[in-house]
């Protein structure tokens, strides 16, 4: 970084006024007997963005805290730090290389969509059953393994999309059977400590699945073939394809953004599944019933919804969604029985960031983590550190979120599910 002092002094200024704002805004709102639920976040954002010029008028007027009051200073603070970075390191690729920035953003969005889909399954289970499934990563692994074995080993030549469907079906059944056999004690009063039981039993399932696959298939890395090859496209003309240029495994847009085939296919499938899932949750009776149980279990029961059936459906569906993420990525990454550990950890981060139990929060959280990781990897000046700290970028965002808004982006203060009802 050429002029690092510019960046670090700006960052220090933002942090100082952010801390001042977060501490005193809450006190001011409390003294005036106003709603303080988002006062820490607003104070931090206004302080970081405008310093004392923004904070003092806010403390005098104490306006009602709205989304606009959070987002506008938030984006201003982000803009200030980006400007400081640009001034401090004008030669950085993130400042001087437009195509690099576009590629990083595209890659961040694509992987963020896939992360978001996986986290969606985890939050669905949490919002209905009230447990964190520690076997989520293993469902992800199983999904990829089923696609690999069904298309390469058992039925060579079988189209991968059929393999994905088989993976969905088998993991849905696995989730449903597991829920019936092992999770029913959570809600029929047979055990004293249901939350701990939920954690331990899903841990058990995780180990069982991982070592079962290792025993059956070994530990060597495997990989499925690309689901589809890109057709050869050169637009607007063959000599100067500035708009789009494709090879079998890569697509280049506007001569700048390159997207690899496996990621593109995985993200398209993820988006389609997401749309289907949204339709299911918001337009069908069963989906509405699921959401009703996640919002208020007792009220849903009074309305004639059997919450036990919804528990089974949620666990099976959540596991299936994780498996689907794995099924689409087995063509992009080498696959091992332990492959689910890192995505599972990332899903936990995303779910907490997005707000425990919030379906849209999980998806938005996924995209944020994808973009932050891409920005960190691309912009941190020291290449050695930039690539070494990939897992840390998401954790920094999560830590900030927990400090400023402990319920996460779109989380509710009190989740429903089986919390407090057992």
């Amino acid at each position: 970084m050429e002029y690092s002092a510019i960046f670090w002094w700006t960052a220090l200024w933002l942090i100082f006024w952010g801390v001042v704002g977060s501490i005193f805004t809450r006190r001011v709102y409390l003294r005036k007997d106003l709603d303080t639920s988002n006062s820490i976040l607003v104070g931090a954002m206004v302080g970081a963005a405008f310093g004392p010029i923004g904070l003092v008028p806010m403390w005098i007027k104490t306006p009602e805290i709205s989304r606009k009051l959070i987002l506008i200073p938030g984006f201003v603070a982000l803009g200030i730090i980006m400007l400081a970075f640009a001034l401090a390191d004008p030669e950085n690729n993130c400042v001087s290389n437009g195509s690099f920035v576009a590629s990083q953003i595209t890659n961040g969005l694509i992987i963020g969509i896939i992360y978001g889909l996986m986290a969606l399954g985890l939050t669905l289970i949490f919002s209905i059953l009230g447990i964190v499934s520690f076997s989520h990563g293993e469902f992800y692994m199983i999904g990829g393994m089923i696609v690999y074995y069904s298309t390469v080993v058992w039925f060579p030549g079988l189209h991968p999309v059929i393999g994905v469907l088989i993976a969905c079906l088998l993991t849905f059944l696995l989730g449903a059977i597991f829920e019936r056999l092992f999770l029913t004690p959570l809600y029929d009063g047979r055990i004293d400590r249901p939350v701990e039981y939920g954690i331990l039993i899903t841990f058990g399932l995780a180990f069982t699945l991982q070592y079962f696959v290792q025993a059956i298939g070994g530990s060597n890395p495997v990989k499925a073939k690309r689901f589809f090859d890109f057709p050869r496209i050169r637009l607007p003309d063959k000599e100067d394809p500035w708009l789009i240029k494709t090879s079998r495994g890569n697509m280049e847009l506007f001569d700048t953004v390159s997207i690899s085939n496996p990621r593109f296919v995985a993200s398209v499938i993820s988006i389609l599944v997401l749309l289907g899932l949204l339709y299911f949750l918001y337009r069908t009776w069963t989906g509405k019933a699921l959401r009703a149980v996640s919002q208020d279990r007792d009220a849903a029961t009074i309305a004639g919804i059997n919450p036990h059936h919804m528990n089974m459906l949620a666990f099976a569906l959540g596991g299936m969604i994780a498996a689907l993420s794995g099924a689409t990525l087995v063509q992009a990454f080498s696959w091992l029985p332990q492959v689910g550990m890192i995505p599972a950890m990332r899903s936990f981060v995303i779910v907490v960031l997005g707000g425990l139990g919030s379906l849209p929060g999980a998806f938005i959280g996924g995209i944020i983590i994808g973009l932050v990781e891409a920005a960190g990897t691309g912009c941190v000046p020291d290449p050695q550190k930039a690539s070494s700290y990939i897992p840390a970028y998401g954790m920094i965002v999560l830590t900030l979120m927990l400090l400023l808004r402990p319920t996460g982006l779109l989380g509710r203060r009190f989740a429903s599910g089986t919390h407090g009802k057992l």
Binding site: S219, S260, P383
Partner: protein, 413 residues
């Protein structure tokens, strides 16, 4: 019919003698030798599986020849997962619970670095097979030996080959943040710099899957040559993702890591991996000695692979060297085995193995660094290249050095 006189005291004494003999035999036989291998992620499972197979073949061959000190040997293989903390714990377990008298194998350098102190403090000799980090022998510990090449030496072959490739002005090194990757990357960067070639190093954690951001950043560097020092499936993931982005082995000159020598896994995981260069330990198959040829045949029959990987050869020899040392020591005492190892001349599959430097002669007497302590000085290192899509590793073209060369390298523009 005469009456049989039963002498009960004599029978009891006979039973007691037999029982004591069996106990004594059971206490000493079989002689247990430990074997370290990464058999689960994030370790290089491909390498670990190959080493396990080779160590079991060593056990079979040694027992077929009468074993050691009149006993069979039992190679107790343990999974290090490529993690230092697991390696130290597994070394402790091998020594205290399994009762091994010596240890062979070892793939990841971080495993060697972490576990050597445990073995040394307990007086158990170790012959590391594939751990390159210089400090493993550089600490000059009494019980630690190595038949793998030194990292500084192996890295030298990698950067020298890159430096002599046509038109190379800038190199990107993608390495893992381990005791193998960091020093190897530093050696490469230093060597390239001495030839006036600039380099940028990217470090990632072992087991990284998604390289999209790093690949874009590497692309922005516009390198003429890429050196990948990632073990296990991380090496596969990076190479294929780089190929998808147009900076793979078919787009720029590209050194992939040793995991690529397992050709079945390589072509399945890196379908666009043709033209990648790799470093291979040991002489080419055409120059194998009789025992190496036999081992290669047995290994291929057992695994269904096309050839035997260099780390499998090293793992086999690490057990063979230990077995011979125990025989020559005439005991399983750690000090006696060390003395035997320091004087050994073992005709292994890699060639004649010996350790010229140790307690009798310090490396400094010949002006060498401490890393040559208990270090086999002769492992051959070649650069090989896949030149046909789907080709098995045993037919890879040897492109460097001149003495072993079987064909010219194909350099991509």
């Amino acid at each position: 019919m005469g009456k049989i006189k039963i002498n009960i005291p004599r029978i009891l004494i006979t039973i007691l003698v037999i029982f004591v003999s069996i106990q004594a035999y059971a206490a000493n036989c079989p002689i247990k030798i430990g074997g370290l291998a990464p058999l689960s992620a994030p370790g290089s499972v491909t390498g670990g599986e190959a080493m396990r197979e080779a160590m079991l073949l060593a056990e079979r061959d040694i027992n077929a020849k009468g074993g050691v000190l009149g006993c069979d040997i039992d190679v107790v293989i343990t999974d290090t997962e490529g993690l230092p903390e697991k390696a130290a714990a597994m070394m402790q377990k091998l020594i205290t619970q399994d009762g091994v008298v010596a240890v062979g194998g070892g793939y990841h350098s971080s495993v060697g670095v972490a576990s050597k102190d445990v073995a040394n403090s307990r007086g158990i000799p170790v012959v590391f097979a594939e751990t390159w980090n210089d400090t493993i022998t550089g600490d000059m510990q009494k019980y630690i030996f190595r038949i793998a090449p030194l990292s500084s030496w192996a890295s030298g072959v990698i950067w020298k080959f890159a430096a002599q490739a046509p038109g190379v002005k800038s190199v990107v090194i993608v390495t893992e943040n381990t005791d193998y990757g960091i020093p190897a990357a530093e050696e490469c960067a230093k060597g390239l710099s001495s030839k006036g070639i600039s380099s940028v190093t990217f470090g990632v954690d072992i087991g990284t899957q998604d390289f999209a951001g790093i690949v874009e950043r590497v692309k922005a560097e516009r390198p003429d040559y890429t050196i990948v020092l990632l073990t296990g499936e991380a090496g596969y993931n990076y190479t294929q993702q780089a190929a998808d982005a147009g900076i793979g082995p078919q787009d720029i000159m590209f050194h992939a890591n040793q995991a690529g020598l397992e050709s079945k896994a390589w072509w399945e995981n890196v379908p666009d991996g043709n033209l990648a260069f790799m470093a291979r330990i040991g002489v080419p198959e055409t120059m194998y000695n009789e025992s190496a040829l036999k081992l290669a045949a047995d290994y291929k029959a057992n695994t269904g692979k096309d050839g035997i990987e260099s780390y499998a050869l090293e793992a086999y020899d690490s057990i063979g060297v230990i077995a011979q040392a125990i025989n020559e020591a005439g005991s399983t005492d750690g000090d006696a085995i060390v003395t035997a190892l320091e004087n050994i001349s073992h005709d292994g599959v890699l060639g004649r193995i010996y350790f010229p430097y140790g307690s009798k002669k310090s490396p400094s007497e010949d002006g060498k660094g401490s890393e040559w302590w208990h270090q086999w000085p002769d492992p051959a290192i070649t650069m090989v290249q896949y030149q046909k899509e789907g080709e098995p590793s045993n037919t890879m073209t040897i492109v460097y050095p001149e003495v072993y060369k079987t064909g010219d390298p194909i350099y991509v523009d």
